[in-house]
Amino acid sequence: MRRLAGLWKFMPQTGLLAMIAAAAMAGVPLLNGFLSKEMFFEKTVYMATFEESTWLLPVLATIAGALAVAYSLRFIHDVFFNGTPTDLPRTPHDPSRWMLVPVEVLVVICIAVGILPSLTFGPLLGVAVGAVLQGPAPDYSLKVWHGFTPALGMSMLALAGGALIYAIRQPLFRWHEKLFGRIDARALFEGFERALLWSSRALDQLIHRRSLQFMLVVLISAALVMLARGFWGMPITGSATLLPIDPVSTSAAICLAAGAIGTVVWHRQRWTALVMLSVVGLIIALAFVKLSAPDLALTQLSVEMVTIVLLLLALHFLPKQTPRESSLPRKLRDLLLALLGGGATGLLTWAVLTRPYDSISGWMLENSVPGGGGTNVVNVILVDFRGFDTLGEITVLAIAAIGIYMMLRDLRLDVPLTDDQGRPWSSDVNPLILATFSRLLLPLALMVAVFIFLRGHNLPGGGFIAGLIISVALVMQYLANGIAWTKLRLSGELHPLIGLGLLLATATGLGSWYFGYPFLTSTHGHLHLPVIGDLELASVMLFDLGVMMVVIGITLVILIRLGRIGLVQRRVAIDDSDLKR
């Protein structure tokens, strides 16, 4: 810009457009910049009338306005006027038509908004303000002439001040040179940037050691430090009245402790650790029964089954024992972290449980029957009140399932033909008694699942639990009868079930749009069937069906595909064209 001057002669169109745009930026009346600047000034004056200390605000705003006027003036005067250009390499000219059009459009908008604000910009502004505030817009007046207001005075002052600053720019430049001439801003900036990059690299090298164990130690320690910092000095025990301890709960807790500690002590003997782990899961399910949460107990129990089957399958492909490789100091370090972490969460739990509490669930308890049409509040929350959450959660499940599906594709694992003590695996894959009984049990198990699904809105049950029960029933068929036998009778892939379920749940939500209600609004009614009796039907039942399909899909995709890999690898001769693929 220091080399440009007098371009008006060569580029009159560009010059005109630039002048209007710069004037709008400077806040010249009858252009859009004037309006926004006046609103801004008005707000600062409004603030100043509230608190005495904020008188600084309008003054600073006026100075800022004056500076904007000064740089706009400098841009226009220096570039387009101010003598003639001297050492330009080529003769400048206006850019082509199409390069000017975007600027013209913007300049026309500047003028139109500046002259007729309420006609051009008013409706758009109303919509935008309504969307941001989620309600009616407050009173505001969008016009050019408000009368003689403080804001108008500030605008005029800014225009005059800007002109003055530009007029005395040479002395100002000299003054600036004298004060800050020696300071090179670029060197400062670059030096700062270099220091920042260096320190972040150093920190990265300190923490990021390509070792998951080390990074987990850092993570857990950081969490502990933050926990201690946040809760330090707070009284631990609150004032709530406590429940008595009964012998049954104590023995359950002892079993839980034995299971958890056993998992840690025997974690090298992986089969033993798995058995210990399943003890913990069962006790947790029992705890849910004791603490009045039947839905959770059912879910925990069925998830426990599929988890253990999954871990058993995985263990088939992994070493059966963990080598001893942790040094004693490392073990002590991990033990210390574990005790600190466990102690902290235990204390936190104790601190919360001993404090009185006011639940926000009252609204849900009151509205469950009139609003959701079900007496099982947990299920009504899942599929109705917080249906959007549940939709998000089954989406997460579906994404996890896709990830698993992709990782299991073309997976080649060496499957040992003997166990870790050299004994060959039994060739009798499908014991007769188990096979016979599992076939008898399948229809019963499916009927239980349907029953649990249908009653879920009023009694413990629902889509999640029914889906898990169906999965367990089908997994049992695979386990007892073998994959080939089951596949002959249950043809078709199961993973499309995940997408279909997600689609059904979403479509149920979208369906309420058709009737003019927000996403996922529910409706319910009664249907009287002969023999079966009064059936409570709610639109959320379709949503719950979608949930159930996703749960069945993800469970079976993982377990069956894992099981199939084992079969392929062991080259069991099975006449199944799909397996020979």
């Binding site: 164990q213 879910t299 969460t345 936190l348 929350i381 996890a400 993800i554």
Partner: protein
């Protein structure tokens, strides 16, 4: 009863963290499972303990088990299974592609 629950949550967390810091994938999976038990129990008892209280609405009753943490934990249990399954399959894939079951993908 509160002390029992607090001790259980603490113990499960401690065992979970210890196993999480082991070097092989299978103990880490066990640790994650223990940790998720602890977290689910912790979240669940945020609604405070209620013993022998109905969870299903009945006419003319006012005291119920808090349904909100139950609903949250129910989905958390199922998602926890999804996550465990993901980590297990990741561990299998890592063993297949890298030839060992160390968490860093190489023998120490």
């Amino acid at each position: 009863m509160e002390a029992l629950i607090a001790l259980s949550v603490g113990l499960l967390t401690a065992c979970g963290i210890y196993l999480l810091l082991r070097g092989r994938t299978f103990p880490v999976v066990l640790g994650i499972t223990l940790l998720s038990y602890a977290v689910n129990l912790f979240l669940f008892v945020m609604g405070r303990l209620s013993i022998g209280v109905p969870a299903i609405l009945e006419p003319n009753r006012a005291d119920y088990a808090d349904p909100l943490p139950q609903a949250l934990v129910l989905t958390a249990i199922v998602i926890g299974f999804g996550m465990t399954a993901f980590v297990v399959v990741l561990a299998l894939r890592a063993r297949a592609d890298l030839g060992n079951d160390h968490v860093d993908g190489r023998e120490p």
